[in-house]
């Protein structure tokens, strides 16, 4: 079960990296938002891993706490970074235009 857990988390981590690289390329994120977004993603993943392990060891309460504290704080960091540091500089029509012109 533990092996399955680490395997799945590896896949989830790789997907998260894919999404981050994609977003970085499309939006051209400012350098200082990267560690914040990356930290948030790692925090979410730690919460998921904690939760899974806690269920395996028979302590679902710890799983719920881990998910809400770690993944929850990770989500908050990502949302705050996005709303306050990324979104204000975003020009959605321009991005769409870019995407179109690439075709």
């Amino acid at each position: 079960m533990e092996a399955l857990q680490w395997f799945s988390l590896g896949i989830i981590s790789m997907l998260a990296i894919n999404v981050m690289v994609y977003v970085h390329r499309v939006i051209d994120l400012k350098w200082y938002t990267l560690p914040l977004l990356f930290g948030g993603v790692v925090d979410i993943l730690v919460g998921v891993a904690w939760c899974w392990s806690s269920f395996l060891e028979g302590y679902p309460q710890s799983g719920a706490m881990g998910l809400s504290l770690f993944s929850g704080s990770g989500l908050v960091v990502i949302i705050m970074t996005w709303r306050h540091l990324v979104a204000p500089g975003l020009n959605i029509p321009m991005i769409l235009q870019d995407a179109k012109s690439a075709r």
């Binding site: 990296i17 028979g58 690439a102």
Partner: protein, 488 residues
């Protein structure tokens, strides 16, 4: 051919990601993935180094009042011996009864310990099965006539001082390191979860020793069969779910089983060493303070609850020792720190959960007891004064055991470091030394909030029930649940 190329180009254009070629995208994800793997590896390496503990500690700190402990002043020894309790020092019991306003005598109370047939099947943790599991757990030692080692009796059949079976040829270990490795591997085979090796240190043995059966003192120089050079300290685990039932009778299952394992492993390792042609004597609670030697052997740090806190297991271990004349040269272990004693200064969970109020609520360690009545003449006779640590009143603890008609374990179950053996607890252990005081307090509060520990002064019925169904899956045991509490 042209059509094929055109079709392919069209498909590519459709799939193409905005502003990025597919090659560039995969290059970047591969680089990011590689960086993540390297970062993860670095974190793992740093955690493993942190879990080894730091040598930057003085180990056991003593002051000018320190001297080796007289075995006759060990609580369990005093209470077990009729001579010590009723003839040599009856004033100790009388003083305790007077100050605590109780009709209580250490030696008399022990006579019926765990044999009062008053189980109640309607009271979780105090039914017939709860009584039976404790008796069963201790039974190997009863059969081997060696249970007295738990009460500090030396030279019991399982920890015999006889060296008659020593092999005449001495095995050449090759080096101290090789000897240590081979003995640790043997310990692991026999069921140890930790094996550390300390130099023999006369400061931390009981001196004089006391034979409770013959009611006489014994000397290391005249009576012990050889001059020890080293002490091998072995930790054996107690079951997480069973310990969680403390202070019920059910929890005596983990205690008794731990003692049976201690005797078995120490007896086996001593026999192995004698088979290799060297002197060896195993020991349970006898001969020396197991906590002091475990600290000396780098197994853990002293906690507020008086136990040694072992990283990864907390205080949920039993300790035994093997005294030998093997010289391990430069392969001896050293005291280490993981910031555990420091953590205890901000965490009082064990003291809060202690049903007898025996555990110190002080904010810092001290060289002498500070508990209630500790300024009364000779009231602290059971404490080993002159060591910097948290001092408990073992007389109150013993009193509770007698009233509860079993030992207790609540300070083990409630400890913030008592957690199942799983990576996320190791992660917390690894970061602990770098955390400031206020984070230690948060961690101590977080432990019960996450569902661990959280003992009350009485057994929690749900935990008793959880233990009794913990073997439900044992036919195939696909979750690999073992008695360390692992679900691998």
């Amino acid at each position: 051919m042209t059509n094929q190329v055109e079709n392919h180009k069209e498909l590519e254009a459709e799939d193409e990601l905005p502003n990025m070629s597919r090659r560039s995208f995969f290059k970047r994800t591969a680089a990011a993935g590689g960086a993540a793997i390297l970062g993860g590896g670095a974190v793992l390496g740093a955690s493993k180094t942190s879990l080894q503990g730091s040598l930057n500690t003085p180990g056991i700190v003593v002051d000018e009042n320190f001297k080796p402990k007289d075995q006759r002043d060990v609580m369990l020894c005093h209470a077990t011996s009729y001579h010590l309790s009723q003839v040599r020092n009856p004033e100790r019991g009388a003083q305790y009864a007077r100050l605590q306003k109780k009709d209580f005598n250490f030696n008399r109370a022990l006579q019926t310990f765990e044999n009062r047939d008053h189980f109640d099947n309607n009271k979780p943790g105090y039914g017939q099965a709860d009584r039976a599991i404790g008796h069963a757990a201790w039974y190997p030692l009863v059969v081997a006539k060696s249970r007295a080692a738990a009460f500090t009796q030396p030279n019991t059949p399982m920890h015999s001082w006889s060296q008659a079976d020593i092999h005449e040829e001495q095995f050449d270990w090759g080096s101290g390191k090789r000897a240590a490795d081979m003995i640790r591997s043997t310990g692991r085979l026999f069921g140890a979860v930790r094996v550390g090796i300390a130099k023999f240190d006369k400061r931390f043995v009981y001196d004089p020793l006391y034979d409770l059966v013959e009611e006489r003192t014994l000397s290391w120089e005249k009576d012990f069969p050889f001059k020890p050079k080293s002490v091998i300290v072995i930790a054996t685990p107690m079951d997480y779910d069973n310990v969680a039932t403390a202070p019920s009778w059910t929890a005596e299952g983990a205690t008794g089983n731990g003692y049976s394992d201690m005797s078995k492993i120490a007896c086996q390792i001593a026999k192995f060493i004698r088979g290799c042609g060297y002197n060896a004597v195993g020991a349970g609670n006898d001969l020396a303070s197991s906590v002091a030697y475990a600290i000396q052997a780098g197994l853990g740090e002293g906690g507020r609850n008086g136990s040694v806190i072992v990283p990864g297991m907390g205080p949920r271990v039993r300790l035994c020792k093997v005294f030998t004349n093997i010289d391990f040269e430069d392969a001896y272990d050293q005291p280490r720190t993981w910031g555990i004693t420091e953590f205890c200064k901000s965490c009082k969970k064990c003291a809060d959960a202690c049903p007898s109020g025996a555990i110190s609520q002080d904010d810092d360690t001290s060289f002498a007891p500070t508990y209630e009545f500790s300024d009364e003449p000779d009231y602290t006779w059971n404490n080993h004064i002159g060591i910097k640590k948290f001092y408990s009143d073992a007389k109150k603890c013993f009193n509770f055991w007698m009233d509860n008609d079993t030992s207790c374990l609540n300070c083990v179950a409630s400890c913030t470091f008592n957690e199942p053996d799983f990576w996320h607890h190791w992660m917390i252990m690894a970061v602990n030394p770098y955390m400031p005081k206020f984070v230690h307090s948060l961690m101590a509060e977080g432990h019960p909030a996450f569902g661990y520990g959280g003992q009350s002064r009485d057994p929690i019925p749900a935990k008793v029930e959880k233990f009794w169904v913990s073997g439900e899956d044992m036919r195939t045991n696909t979750s690999m649940k073992n008695n360390i509490g692992t679900a691998g």
